[in-house]
């Protein structure tokens, strides 16, 4: 039409839309403050290349880095009743759910998948801290029950990545009841003599720590992860004294005998495979490159 429509308006529009581009491309390390380019960060599985801080990673990205060739089958979780108590604080619970779903593009706070890691069949459950603080409600309970039952059915190990502030208050007592519910599920797995490996990630607190996340056959944590029952702020308010450096961090728990291992994210896959195969009485995994997804499918 004229130069205003063709040239000026797109320029003005692009000025505004450009605004959110840098926020998406760059992430600030929450520990050392270094600005990190998104590709660099995701190639490093969300570990800061500068200070080695393990940042949150979405369950999807976690599973992509873990499963061979990034291939896995997500498992459907039975949906619990929606908003069982009709809970309303400053916001209605269903509204909080909707905004969490929009923000994370996930249904709920846990993803369960099946596939092969280091050519070893495994079930993996990963909790999503960005979804309402990873909080454990009936859905998360159902997810763990499904994951345990599936592991029993497929006779394979369950690896669980925990990340949660605790129980989901909006489901009241029903969230608390997920502590015994998930414990029953873990017992099914243990009775079938299958490995339950827990990887505690930052942060794992409250009712989650006080149930399935502390019942692993092997307890692994990511470096510097906060792991506790009562958070440091609550304790400081109660005992009114400063807590020691590194209190309730993974390394501190390791020192106090609460964990088997603290493992860097880049070494996690190999270690999970080694542990699972030894516990399952399998031969050592074949090392080296795995066949590319396309070539193996073409061969069949």
């Amino acid at each position: 039409m004229n130069w205003i429509a063709n040239y000026v308006r797109p320029r003005i529009n692009s000025l505004f839309s450009k605004r959110d581009v840098p926020e998406n491309l760059w992430t600030k390390c929450t520990e050392c403050g270094t600005m990190l380019f998104h590709r660099e960060l995701s190639q490093n599985a969300n570990v800061c290349p500068n200070c080695d801080h393990h940042m949150n990673i979405s369950p999807r990205d976690r599973l992509l880095t873990l499963f061979d060739n990034g291939k896995f089958t997500p498992i459907e979780i039975p949906k619990p009743i929606n908003d069982p108590l009709g809970f309303k604080d400053q916001k209605k619970y269903p509204d909080r759910m909707k905004s969490a779903q929009k923000k994370t593009e996930a249904d709920e706070a846990m993803l369960v998948a099946e596939g092969e890691i280091g050519r070893t069949k495994m079930i993996v459950a990963a909790q999503d801290f960005s979804f309402m603080g990873g909080s454990m409600g009936m859905y998360v309970g159902n997810a763990i029950i499904v994951a345990c039952k599936l592991a029993v059915e497929k006779k394979c190990p369950l690896v669980l990545f925990s990340a949660a502030g605790g129980a989901r208050m909006q489901e009241g007592i029903l969230s608390l009841m997920q502590m015994p519910r998930t414990t029953v599920a873990v017992q099914l797995l243990k009775e079938a003599k299958l490995p339950f490996i827990v990887v505690l990630t930052n942060p794992t607190t409250g009712g989650v720590t006080a149930s399935y996340a502390m019942l692993g056959d092997i307890q692994i944590a990511e470096p510097n992860a906060l792991i506790c029952f009562a958070g440091p702020r609550v304790i400081e308010q109660t005992i009114r004294e400063k807590l020691p450096d590194g209190f309730q961090k993974a390394e501190y728990l390791l020192d106090h005998g609460m964990l088997d291992r603290v493992v860097h994210r880049k070494n996690l896959k190999e270690e999970l495979v080694m542990l699972s195969r030894m516990l399952m009485g399998l031969n050592p995994a074949i090392k080296g490159d795995l066949p590319k997804p396309d070539s193996s499918e073409n061969n069949e």
């Binding site: 619990p80 009743i81 908003d83 069982p84 108590l85 009709g86 809970f87 309303k88 604080d89 400053q90 009936m138 309970g141 029950i145 129980a167 208050m169 489901e171 009241g172 007592i173 029903l174 969230s175 608390l176 009841m177 502590m179 015994p180 519910r181 414990t183 029953v184 873990v186 017992q187 409250g206 009712g207 720590t209 006080a210 149930s211 399935y212 996340a213 502390m214 019942l215 506790c228 029952f229 009562a230 609550v234 304790i235 109660t238 005992i239 004294e241 807590l243 209190f247 309730q248 106090h256 005998g257 609460m258």
Partner: protein, 320 residues
């Protein structure tokens, strides 16, 4: 001297006046105040019924925490004969917040466990206000194992604000101890009956109350978080505890509808603190009935029953 709750203040005034009148009458013989005094008594009685007929959830929390309610120790003293306390977790210490031992319930030897809050400043500090540390849960685990080995039913009396949030407790594995205690509850092949006698505070309560039957007193509460804690997180204002208590649906009546508790034991008018013996007796009768109902089941069935009870939770909500 009676301890009045905040919402009972009008009642305290009337009862105070009646007592004053009677005291006055004692000083001079010609004064006859009995008519007036009994009118006040009647007024107080009506008010009490009125106040307790429709307790709001927040008032229920206050009643559940009332210092004069019968505590774990009172139930043990009255309901269990030949009670011998058993101490320690064999690892670190004996946790005085947790009472535990062997005794006879109507001749039947049982293991009894519970949190004790204490009744005055000295005992409250000694008991750590009923907030257990890892040692307490590990003692419970040890005694449940003992029960399992000798085929003794387990009775747990739950009354705790929650597990103790402290440095030492965290260092010694508070979360692991709670998780293992819940796990142990689900493993033992003997009847396990829990009674929430006051406050069922979060994970610290679950570790004792993962039972075949969960009984609640009429004005007891059981919640994922205290109303004050919930208010400060979700409302960013600890003063909004009334709203939080409402939203959490923590009363025995709501929990019965959700299937979290199996039955409610009625309290006398004005709460358990106004009729301690009656309450203890009613709880005893309820335990007796529940023990009887679990008699004759083998280990496997008892374990399966307990597991299924918890797996099934969440099938009914309060809104639908």
């Amino acid at each position: 001297m009676q301890n009045y709750l905040e919402f009972e203040r009008p009642l305290a005034e009337i009862e105070g006046k009646a007592a004053e009148l009677r005291a006055l009458a004692k000083t001079s013989e010609e004064m006859n105040v009995e008519n007036e005094a009994s009118a006040l008594d009647k007024k107080a009685g009506d008010l009490l019924i009125n106040l307790y007929e429709n307790l709001t959830p927040w008032r229920k929390c206050q009643v559940a925490r009332h210092p004069d309610r019968p505590h774990c120790k009172d139930y043990i003293d009255k309901l269990f004969q030949d009670y011998i306390p058993l101490s320690g977790d064999r690892n670190f210490a004996d946790d005085h917040a947790v009472m535990g031992g062997i005794g006879r319930f109507n001749d039947q030897p049982v293991i009894v466990l519970g949190q004790e809050k204490g009744y005055d400043t000295k005992t409250r500090i000694e008991r750590n206000f009923g907030m257990a540390r890892p040692e307490g849960y590990r003692k419970a685990i040890r005694l449940m194992d003992l029960a399992d080995r000798f085929n003794l039913p387990v009775i747990t009396l739950v009354d705790t604000p929650g597990a103790y949030p402290g440095k030492g407790a965290e260092e010694r594995g508070q979360s692991e101890a709670i998780a293992r205690s819940t796990e142990k509850c689900l493993q033992i092949g003997v009847p396990l009956i829990s009674i929430i006698i006051g406050e069922g505070g979060s994970g610290g309560a679950v570790a004792f109350a993962t039972a075949n039957r969960v009984i609640m007193l009429q004005h007891s509460i059981y919640s994922v978080i205290s109303p004050e804690g919930c208010a400060s997180i979700l409302w960013k204002d600890a003063e909004k505890m009334r709203e939080a208590a409402e939203a959490l649906r923590l009363t025995a009546q709501d929990l019965l509808k959700l299937g979290v508790c199996d039955l409610i034991v009625e309290e006398p008018v004005g709460g358990a603190q106004r009729g301690r013996d009656v309450t203890i007796k009613a709880v005893g009768e309820s335990i007796e009935i529940q023990l009887e109902s679990l008699k004759g089941f083998d280990r496997k069935t008892l374990i399966a029953d307990r597991r299924q009870r918890f797996l099934d939770l969440g099938e009914k909500g309060l809104t639908s």
